[in-house]
Symmetry: C2
Subunit: 239 residues, 2 copies
């Protein structure tokens, strides 16, 4: 890192590999979608076993990353958090929005295991909310006595988002799930957990239209029908 007056240069120490190949499907906080299996693949400079030694003793880790897709966008002093229905503004420092003066992201995830894969050390984790390809700048152990404050008051985001919604798969979607089972064994649970977060913007939630999102290389079409969500179809996107 170099310092020039008040500028600091960071380098990627790794890269995220995740099912979230587009922003739309990403849950708004980590921990909500446990079926999302992701990994950090260490970059060449940091690709050594000893740099991670002792990390497996921790159940959870912090990932500090760059919102690389938000980088070119100008930040604004106030943002509209999805939790406030998208129609009320708060200061950007009172939000976890990616569009901030320094687009640094912070997520706690459940550490699964550490493994060498194609000559790169991979830290596998669950419950991530990070876009595939995201540059990681730091990994820290989660230290419960310091980091866990269960009685903290969380302003407008006090309660976990409501995820009670019934999700049905059409006959066609079920057929596709069966075909993809070998490649993506937990796809159904992942889709259910992601849709329970209602990824569509609040003002569109009750609209009678078909939405699409991509997980891995699979495009998923769904619509709302009363209180239920119907997954109409899945299609593998050919690269």
């Amino acid at each position: 890192m170099t310092k020039e007056s008040n500028k600091f240069e960071l380098s990627a120490i790794g890269e995220i590999i995740s099912p979230y190949t587009e922003k739309f499907a990403i849950p708004r906080q980590p921990g909500l979608v446990t079926a999302a299996k992701s990994a950090i693949a260490l970059s060449e400079d940091c690709n050594r076993e000893e740099i991670l030694r002792g990390l497996e003793g921790f159940s959870h880790i912090w990932i500090v990353f760059m919102f690389h897709k938000a980088m070119k966008a100008d930040w604004k002093p106030m943002v509209r958090p999805p939790r406030l229905g998208g129609n009320k503004k708060v200061g950007v420092f009172a939000s976890r929005s990616p569009f901030r003066p320094n687009p640094v992201g912070l997520s706690v995830v459940a550490l699964s295991h550490i493994e060498l894969h194609q000559k790169r050390w991979h830290i596998y984790f669950e419950g991530g909310d990070i876009l595939n390809g995201t540059p990681v700048v730091d990994i820290k152990p989660y230290i419960p006595y310091a980091d866990s404050i269960p009685d903290a008051s969380g302003g407008y985001a006090q309660e976990s988002p409501n995820t009670e919604v019934k999700i049905n798969f059409s006959a066609q979607a079920q057929q596709r799930l069966a075909e993809l089972k070998l490649q993506h064994p937990t796809l159904q649970t992942l889709i259910e957990q992601v849709l329970a977060q209602q990824p569509q913007p609040a003002y569109q939630r009750d609209q009678d239209k078909t939405f699409g999102m991509t997980l891995y290389d699979i495009n998923i079409q769904w619509r709302k029908a009363g209180d239920e969500i119907i997954v109409a179809d899945l299609r593998q996107i050919r690269a």
Copy 2:
């Protein structure tokens, strides 16, 4: 922020004002020394009221900062955490050491209040563990349902450090505390809380010698006597 290949440039959005004018006295995690009253003073680019609007609804905030005093030091793949007595190594990503590939620091602190002071917005907080003058790169609200994992397992740092130690002030130290009362009303509690963390390195803890540390502009001399700590003297350092 600019992106060149895998490099990212961050700017300071504020600066820490804290009693910790040297590294030695800093507790090893935030939250341990509640008498440390600190603040973030927003930098010019971010110095506007609306950027913080809604933050006061949160009891705790994350401060993302640069370990600016660690910047020139080369990081090593393994470090000796104080919690392991300084004689056992772990990987740097399994530690919260400041000497890391990207020297980014992360602390959760209790938000006290927000106030305009000498034309700069100040976010006052308690329980900080950050050096005076530290550049801040981000502020985020602490969201308990996502960030608080009370049953996480914390590896070698599972338990909060033991802070049961009796601290006595010599007659001379008591006299100095009385003289400094107007300028530093909570100094005694701050000294007690800092010394309870045993700032001296583990291998020196039981040595019969006098240690010194600086808080604000005050040098504090103490020594261990059996199971107790005796604060021998305080001296204001003239700038």
